[in-house]
């Protein structure tokens, strides 16, 4: 079973990996709507999927964070992806599967997943 003593090993392991980090995504940000409306629509597993996918692909520079309600509750879960190439893109009605695809195609591949964007779901 995990104990707090395991934290020390994680810290040492991370320090040894520092040089291997890929910081090319430092200006990339994922924000998931986490107001009451977002949570009720299933935002928590979407955040988990983004977080896991970013970790899986070792995109250390990408930040995953939470945001409030942007007034489009019927479109939740909503995720805002900000990249240097495409600026801010809003994805609506997100699921964990869609989140994985957005990380792979938009953040890694550089191609916005148009079928999930707010502009294509009005």
């Amino acid at each position: 079973m995990k104990t707090l003593a395991d934290l020390q090993a994680i810290k040492e392991n991370l320090q040894s990996q520092m040089d291997l980090r890929n910081e090319s995504h430092a200006d990339t940000k994922i924000a998931v709507g986490m107001a009451t409306c977002g949570i009720a629509a299933g935002a928590r597993p979407v955040v988990t999927a983004f977080s896991d996918s970013v970790q899986e692909h070792k995109l250390h520079g990408v930040s995953v964070t939470l945001m409030g309600c942007i007034g489009l509750c019927s479109q939740e879960p909503i995720a805002e992806i900000t990249t240097p190439k495409d600026g801010k893109v809003i994805y609506v009605k997100m699921t964990p599967e869609k989140a994985k695809r957005v990380v792979e195609e938009h953040i890694i591949g550089g191609n916005v997943v148009k079928e999930y964007t707010i502009d294509n779901n009005k």
Partner: protein, 188 residues
């Protein structure tokens, strides 16, 4: 609108604490077979608010979409209902400038009580919020319990950034394993 798991109510209410600028958020879950109660408490040292006006204000702040406002959009009200429908009770104490305390008491074996659900995911999501604050989670079931405090992680990391995915993975596994260890599918 309703939440399938009490851990989602906890996330929702704790995010109010984040928005209130709290530097310390203390979450506790206590189950007791003797008193047949499951008690969830969330305490913060944020800006607090005028309880008499909260319904109006939180409805506006949390959810600006008018269609959704009619069906809900008020996290505290959902939390209150989740406890009271089991025959339990709800308490809200807040004052401007002195933080907020929320307590929801459930009948532990009520068939209509929602399950606690995934507190590991709730804690992990809270750590992803921007800004710096400490989060303490304490979980007790009869004589067994465990606790996790982000201050313990920060102390080890010193000035180094601690919000990395390895730590979040650790947090999730720590909470999941310790919860399973005390719960054994009996309480939550």
């Amino acid at each position: 609108m309703k939440f399938e798991e009490l851990s989602l109510n906890i996330l929702d209410v704790a995010l109010n604490s984040v928005r209130a600028g709290a530097l310390l958020i203390e979450i506790s879950v206590t189950a007791s077979t003797e008193s047949n109660r499951l008690v969830i408490e969330i305490k913060d040292n944020g800006v607090g608010f005028d309880v008499n006006r909260y319904e109006k204000e939180t409805a506006e702040r949390l959810c600006r979409d008018s269609a959704q406002e009619k069906s809900g959009g008020n996290g505290l009200r959902l939390f209150k209902e989740s406890a009271e429908k089991t025959g339990g009770s709800f308490e809200l104490v807040s004052e401007k400038g002195s933080g907020t305390y929320v307590k929801a008491e459930y009948i532990l074996n009520s068939p209509i009580r929602a399950p606690l659900g995934d507190m590991a995911e709730t804690f992990a999501a809270l750590t992803l919020c921007e800004g710096d604050r400490d989060i303490v989670y304490t979980c007790n079931a009869d004589a067994k319990g465990f606790s996790l405090n982000t201050a313990q992680i920060k102390e080890l990391y010193g000035d180094a950034p601690w919000k990395n995915y390895e730590i979040i993975k650790f947090i999730k596994e720590f909470i999941k394993e310790n919860t399973d260890n005390i719960n054994k599918n009996r309480f939550f």
